[in-house]
C-alpha cells in the first residue's frame, strides 16, 4: 500500500460511502471524491496504458489537464469513453473501465511496442507505412488502430437527452477560484448580470486546496461564504459543472453543463448535458494556472504526479498520494506541497531542487538537494525510488511517489482561440494571454499573478473596471485579509539533464525528448510541424501539460527564446465536448420541423401514404385494399382522373399575396412573360428567370383586383422565390409601390381534375362556373354553399378540365370531405404526388426535374412566352447572350420506347444508334420518366440536342445504372390531348 485515505481532513463526507466499480472490482469512495481521488484512496495508481508504447501510466493531475487517467464510464448505449477520472464526480454505482490495454491493465500485450521503441520514433508511422499505398487501408491501419485505440465509440443509439440553451449577461466569469469569486462578488454587488461558471462540481477553485486563512476563516469557509452571498443576488447565476470551452465572435461563449453526469439514474425530464451559448457583454477569464510538469528520465511511471495535484488530493480529498514522497521542483510550489503533505503525516523522502541558493525552506527534518537533477526512476508498475544526480554523483533515494513542480502555465486557451497568439513573458518565464480588447479580460493566476492576495485583488479590480465601463458604479471595497501567502516563483527548467531513461513530454501520446530532437534534425522544427511530426499535444488532452514544454525544448535545443518558437494554435474546444451535447434536441423528429398541410387529416382518412417533400409531408398515393404496390394505386388514380375526377392537395404550393399600385409592374419585371395587362379575374402561367437567363421557377399568378394579385410558386422554391421577390422589391426597385406577404399557410388549396370536375365543384359553389361564365384561366372569389368565401381558379396541371379551390386553412378538411362526399357519385378519388407527376408528364408539363438550372425557356418550349417588348425583366439581358440561343441546344422532347414493354428511367443519357457512350457523343438526358397508364407504356421527358427537329428519330436511351439500353422514338412531349380539347369544355 502506498496511496491511502488520510484519517481526517478534506472536503469529503466521511459518513457517506459510495460504492463504485473499476475494471469490474467494487471499491469504495466518499461523497465529494472524484473518481481519481477515490482510486487513489484505494491505492489504484495504475489507471491506463499509453498510446504508443502501452507503458503503464498513473494519475498525474487533479483536473482537466489529465493526460493519463482516461476511463470509460457507463454501460451499453450510455457509455462515455475517454472520461478523465480526475474530473469525474464519484457517485454510487459508477462503473468505470480502464482503456487502451489488452488483455488487461496489468499484463498488456502492446507493451511489446516498448521493446521496439528504438524503431518507433517521431514520424515512424509516416516513414514506415508509406508503401505500397494499398497496404495502408487493408493492413497497416487496422493493426495500428487495434493496438492503439483509445476508448471505444459506442455504436448504439444514445438514449440520453441533451439540449441547448442561450444565456445573456453583462459579465461572464470563467473560473470560481479566488480571482473569479472576487470578480463575481464585485460585479454582482454593483448590479451587473453575472454568470459565474466553473467546470468543477464544487466551486472555489484553488481555495479548496488552500491551507491558509482568509478574513480569519479557512479558505474553504471563505469560498463558501462568498458563494452564499452570490447565491443571494438575483442578478448572479452560478453554473457549476460547466466548462466554458470556446470563445467565438461577438463575445459569444460556448459552454457545456454536465447536468446529470454525476448520477446513476438520470431523470428523464432533464438532459444529461446542456450546451450553452452565452452572449456576454464582457468576460473575465479567471481560469488559474496549470502546474508545469518536469521533463526527466522515467517521469512517466505511476506515482509521478504534479506536486500541486498531490496537495489537492491531500487538502481537498483527504488522500495521500504516497507514504514516502519525493519532491522535484524548480520553484516554491514544490515546497508548499511538501509542507502540506508533511503536515498530514506523509513522509517527505527528499526535496530535489534544480536551483541553487534557494530561499525556500524545506519542512523540518526533510533533506533538501539543491542543484539536483532527477535522471531516472525505479520501479516497474509504480515508482519505488528516484535516481538523483548532483555534481556528477548519482544517488538513489527510495520513495513511493514523486511530486514534480516545474512552474506555471497560465490557462489562457479561451483568450487565444480567435487568432491572437500567446505572448512570452521573459520575467515570468511563461506564456501570457495577448491583449484581445476589452471583451475578454484575463485576471489572477491566469494573468500570471500567482499569489492569493494578487488574485483576489486582480479579480476585484478588473471586475470594478468592467462595471464602471458598462455604466455601473462599484463601491470601493476592503480586500479580504490573507494570513499566509507565498509567491510561487520558479526558474524555468525545460529538461532535467542527464536522463538515463526516456524523459516524456506528452504522456498520452508517448512523446519524449529525443522525438523533439529528431523532429528538429529532420526539418520539422517549427512548433506546428514538430507537433504534427511527433504528435506532441495531439492527444485528447490537446497538450495542456505538454505544449509549453515542447516549445521550451524546441527553444532550448536551438538556443533561442521560447518567444521565437511560440505556441501551437489554440482552438475550441478547451476540453472535448460530446456530439450529443452539440446536437442538443436536434435529433429524431426534432431534427427538422415537419410542415403539415391543412388537408393532412383528410389525406390520412383517405389512406394516404406520405412522402417527405422538403419539410412537408405530402401524400404520395392513396392505397386501397388489395393494392400491393405504389404503381397499382398510382395507375388507378391516373386513370380515374382521366376518366372521372380526382382531388389532390396542392396546399404546399408557395402562395404570395401581392398588393399595390405597382404590383403589375413588379410582376412584369420578375416574370419573363407579360403581366402588365392581365385582366382582373384571370390567371396566367408565369415563368421566372434567374439573372443569367436560366429558368428559376414557374407558377400561376391571378389578378384578383386591379391592385391585388395572387401568386403561386412551386413547393420546392416557395421560400427562395419569396426571398428573391423581397430582394427585387427592396434592393433593386425600392421605389415601386408594392407590398406582399406569404399566404401559403392561410389557404387549403385543392386541385379537382377530371372530365367530371365541374359537376363536383358546381355542387359546392353558389356561383355559375359553366365554361361560358368561368372559362379556362378564369380566377376569382366565389361563395361556397353555406357562405364560406373561397378562391377558385380554372387551371390545370393534368391537362383535364380542372379547378383549384382555395379555402381558409381551418375549413380545408371539411371542404375536402364535402368534395369527396359530393364526388362519390361521380367516382371521385383522392390522388397523390405520384399520380400528379404521371398526369403532368403525360401532358408534357414541366417541374423542377426539367428546370434544373441549366434550362432556358426556349429549351423547355416556352421560347415564345419570353417577352421581347418588355424593356426589362430579371434575366432578359443574358437570355439573349451567345450560347443560350445556339441552334444545337438541348430541347425538351418526349420519348417512348420502340418496344412498348421496355422501361426508361430518369437520369439516362441519349446516344445516336451505334454511337459509343462518351461525353463527346452525348446527345442529351432524360429528366422525367414514368409508366403512362393512359398510353399503356413508359413515357419520358428528355432534353435532346436540337430535339424539336428530331421528332420520329430513333435514339438510344443509355442507362448504365439500369444496365440496359432502350431504343426510343423522339416525339412531341405532349402525349395526351395535344390539341387541348379536354381543357376547353
Amino acid at each position: 500500500m502506498t496511496a491511502y485515505r488520510l484519517t481526517s481532513g478534506g472536503l469529503v463526507d466521511r459518513g457517506a460511502n459510495l460504492d463504485f466499480k473499476f475494471d469490474g472490482k467494487t471499491l469504495t469512495g466518499l461523497s465529494g471524491d472524484t473518481l481519481a481521488s477515490a482510486l487513489l484512496a484505494n491505492d489504484r495508481l495504475l489507471v491506463g496504458r499509453s498510446f504508443k508504447y502501452h507503458r503503464p501510466r498513473g494519475i498525474v493531475t487533479a483536473g482537466a489537464s489529465e493526460p493519463n487517467a482516461l476511463v470509460t464510464i457507463g454501460k451499453g448505449a450510455s457509455t462515455d469513453p475517454n472520461t478523465k477520472a480526475t474530473v469525474a464526480e464519484l457517485y454510487a454505482g459508477l462503473d468505470a473501465r480502464s482503456q487502451n490495454r489488452w488483455p488487461s491493465l496489468k499484463y498488456d500485450f502492446g507493451a511489446v511496442n516498448g521493446l521496439l521503441s528504438p524503431f518507433l520514433g517521431a514520424g515512424f508511422y509516416y516513414k514506415t507505412f508509406m508503401w505500397p499505398a494499398a497496404f495502408w487501408e487493408k493492413v497497416y491501419e487496422p493493426i495500428i488502430r487495434r493496438a492503439a485505440g483509445l476508448g471505444r465509440v459506442v455504436l448504439e443509439r444514445d438514449p440520453e437527452a441533451y439540449e441547448k440553451c442561450w444565456a445573456h449577461c453583462d459579465l461572464l466569469v470563467v473560473g470560481s477560484g479566488p480571482t473569479g469569486l472576487m470578480a463575481a462578488l464585485v460585479a454582482g454587488r454593483a448590479g451587473l448580470r453575472v454568470i459565474l461558471a466553473d467546470e468543477d462540481f464544487r466551486l472555489g477553485g484553488s481555495l479548496l486546496a488552500e491551507t491558509t486563512r482568509i478574513d480569519g476563516v479557512s479558505a474553504q469557509a471563505f469560498a463558501e461564504a462568498s458563494l452564499a452571498e452570490l447565491r443571494s443576488l438575483p442578478n448572479v447565476t452560478i453554473m457549476p459543472r460547466t466548462t466554458v470551452f470556446g470563445w467565438y465572435d461577438d463575445n459569444v461563449f460556448g459552454a457545456v453543463e454536465r447536468v446529470q453526469k454525476h448520477v446513476a439514474m438520470p431523470q428523464a425530464k432533464l438532459p444529461v448535458e446542456r450546451l450553452w451559448r452565452i452572449a456576454a457583454k464582457r468576460a473575465l477569464l479567471a481560469t488559474g494556472a496549470e502546474e508545469r510538469p518536469l521533463v526527466f528520465g522515467g517521469n512517466d511511471k505511476p506515482g509521478v504526479m504534479m506536486a500541486g495535484a498531490m496537495r489537492t488530493y491531500a487538502n481537498r480529498f483527504g488522500v495521500a498520494a504516497g507514504r514516502s514522497v519525493a519532491i522535484f521542483s524548480n520553484g516554491s510550489a514544490g515546497y508548499q506541497a511538501a509542507h502540506d503533505l508533511a503536515a498530514q503525516g506523509v513522509e517527505i523522502a527528499a526535496i530535489i531542487d534544480s536551483r541553487s541558493d534557494v530561499a525556500d525552506v524545506a519542512p523540518a527534518g526533510v533533506r533538501l538537494i539543491q542543484s539536483g537533477s532527477v535522471i531516472d526512476t525505479q520501479g516497474r508498475q509504480r515508482v519505488s525510488g528516484i535516481v538523483v544526480e548532483r555534481s556528477g554523483f548519482e544517488e538513489t533515494i527510495a520513495c513511493d511517489a514523486i511530486g514534480m513542480s516545474g512552474g506555471w502555465n497560465p490557462v489562457i486557451h479561451l483568450a487565444c482561440q480567435r487568432g491572437a497568439k500567446a505572448v512570452w513573458s521573459p520575467e515570468l518565464q511563461t506564456f501570457l494571454a495577448p491583449d484581445v480588447g476589452n471583451g475578454l479580460v484575463v485576471a489572477g493566476s491566469a494573468a500570471g499573478r500567482y499569489t492569493l492576495v494578487g488574485c483576489l485583488a486582480d479579480g476585484a479590480q478588473k471586475a470594478a473596471a468592467i462595471a464602471a465601463d458598462l455604466g455601473f458604479s462599484a463601491p470601493a471595497e476592503a480586500m479580504p485579509v490573507v494570513e499566509e501567502d507565498i509567491d510561487p516563483s520558479f526558474t524555468a527548467l525545460w529538461y532535467s539533464p542527464g536522463a538515463k531513461a526516456k524523459a516524456f513530454i506528452d504522456f498520452q501520446n508517448d512523446v519524449h525528448v529525443r522525438d523533439i530532437g529528431l523532429a528538429l534534425r529532420e526539418g520539422f522544427g517549427h512548433v506546428e510541424h514538430a507537433k504534427r511530426y511527433t504528435t506532441n499535444g495531439m492527444a485528447t488532452d490537446q497538450g495542456k501539460l505538454s505544449g509549453i514544454n515542447a516549445t521550451g525544448l524546441l527553444a532550448a535545443m536551438q538556443g533561442i527564446s521560447p518567444a521565437d518558437v511560440g505556441t501551437t494554435t489554440f482552438r475550441p474546444f478547451y476540453t472535448p465536448v460530446t456530439l450529443g451535447a452539440l446536437a442538443g434536441t436536434s435529433r429524431d423528429e426534432h431534427a427538422a420541423p415537419v410542415r403539415k398541410s391543412p388537408l393532412h387529416g383528410w389525406a390520412q382518412k383517405n389512406g394516404a401514404v406520405f412522402v417527405d417533400s422538403g419539410l412537408w409531408y405530402r401524400p404520395a398515393y392513396f392505397a386501397r385494399s388489395g393494392e400491393k404496390t405504389w404503381r397499382e394505386s398510382t395507375d388507378r388514380e391516373v386513370r380515374n382522373v382521366r376518366e372521372n375526377v380526382g382531388l389532390c392537395d396542392v396546399s404546399t404550393l408557395g402562395k404570395i399575396e401581392i398588393f399595390g399600385p405597382d404590383a403589375a409592374e413588379f410582376l412584369n419585371r420578375i416574370y419573363c412573360n407579360a403581366f402588365l395587362k392581365l385582366p382582373v379575374g384571370k390567371a396566367r402561367y408565369g415563368l421566372m428567370l434567374r439573372e443569367d437567363g436560366m429558368v428559376y421557377d414557374d407558377g400561376t399568378t391571378s389578378r384578383l383586383s386591379s391592385e391585388h394579385f395572387f401568386m403561386t410558386t412551386t413547393t420546392a422554391l416557395a421560400g427562395g422565390v419569396m426571398s428573391h421577390m423581397e430582394y427585387c422589391a427592396q434592393v433593386l426597385w425600392p421605389d415601386l409601390r408594392v407590398r406582399f406577404c406569404s399566404s401559403t399557410d392561410q389557404w387549403a388549396q385543392m386541385a379537382i381534375a377530371g372530365p367530371k370536375a365541374r359537376l363536383v365543384v358546381q355542387a359546392l359553389v353558389e356561383d355559375d362556373i359553366s365554361d361560358a361564365a368561368f372559362p379556362f384561366l378564369a380566377a376569382g372569389i366565389v361563395a361556397l354553399k353555406g357562405g364560406l368565401k373561397a378562391r377558385l381558379f380554372r387551371i390545370s396541371f393534368s391537362g383535364e378540365l380542372a379547378y383549384e379551390l382555395a379555402v381558409p386553412a381551418g375549413s380545408g378538411e371539411a371542404v375536402a370531405d364535402a368534395i369527396m362526399e359530393e364526388g362519390r357519385a361521380h367516382g371521385i378519388c383522392a390522388y397523390g404526388l405520384e399520380a400528379l407527376n404521371v398526369l403532368r408528364m403525360e401532358k408534357g408539363h414541366v417541374t423542377h426535374a426539367e428546370f434544373d438550372g441549366r434550362v432556358t425557356p426556349d429549351d423547355a418550349g416556352f421560347g415564345r412566352m419570353v417577352s421581347a417588348q418588355k424593356p426589362d425583366f430579371i434575366g432578359k439581358r443574358l437570355s439573349t447572350r451567345y450560347g443560350l440561343t445556339a441552334a444545337d441546344r438541348m430541347q425538351m422532347v418526349g420519348l417512348k420506347p420502340v418496344e412498348a414493354d421496355q422501361h426508361i428511367r430518369a437520369g439516362a443519357h441519349l446516344l445516336r444508334e451505334g454511337a459509343k457512350p462518351s461525353t463527346l457523343n452525348d446527345q442529351g438526358y432524360v429528366s422525367s420518366a414514368c409508366f403512362s397508364p393512359t398510353l399503356g407504356h413508359d413515357i419520358a421527358l428528355a432534353f435532346l440536342k436540337s430535339g424539336r427537329e428530331r421528332y420520329g428519330e430513333r435514339i438510344v436511351v443509355w442507362d448504365k445504372l439500369a444496365g440496359a439500353d432502350v431504343v426510343a422514338e423522339v416525339c412531341n412531349p405532349v402525349f395526351v390531348d395535344p390539341g387541348n380539347a379536354k381543357l376547353n369544355v
Binding site: D249, D250, R277, A279, E726, Y727, P734
Partner: protein
C-alpha cells in the same frame, strides 16, 4: 463570420436568423448596358480579405435585406443598414 448581427429593425440576433447573398456593392446594370457589364454583374465576384459589404437577409426576422459591412478576416462588423434605404441613397 460574426456570431451576432445587429439588425437595424429587430436588434441583436444570432447569425442563424440570416442568410447571405453576397457582394452588396454590385449595381444592376441598365438593360442596354454592355455584355461586359452584365457579365461582371452576374458572374464575377471578388473574395476580398478585409472590409466587405454584403447583402444579408434577416429571413427568420423582419425579412428585410440588409447591407452588412464586415471584415472577412477579423469578423468585425462595422455596420448593418437597411438594403432599401442604402439602395435609395445610392439612387438606384
Amino acid at each position: 463570420m460574426a456570431s451576432l448581427i445587429h439588425c437595424p429593425h429587430c436588434g441583436v440576433r444570432p447569425k442563424e436568423e440570416f442568410s447571405i447573398r453576397g457582394d452588396a456593392s454590385l449595381v444592376r446594370p441598365d438593360p442596354e448596358a454592355s455584355d461586359e457589364a452584365w457579365h461582371d454583374y452576374v458572374h464575377i465576384r471578388s473574395n476580398p480579405r478585409g472590409r466587405y459589404r454584403e447583402h444579408w437577409q434577416h429571413v427568420a426576422g423582419c425579412r428585410r435585406w440588409l447591407v452588412v459591412e464586415r471584415d472577412t478576416f477579423t469578423h468585425e462588423v462595422f455596420s448593418v443598414t437597411d438594403g432599401a434605404a442604402t439602395a435609395r441613397e445610392a439612387g438606384r
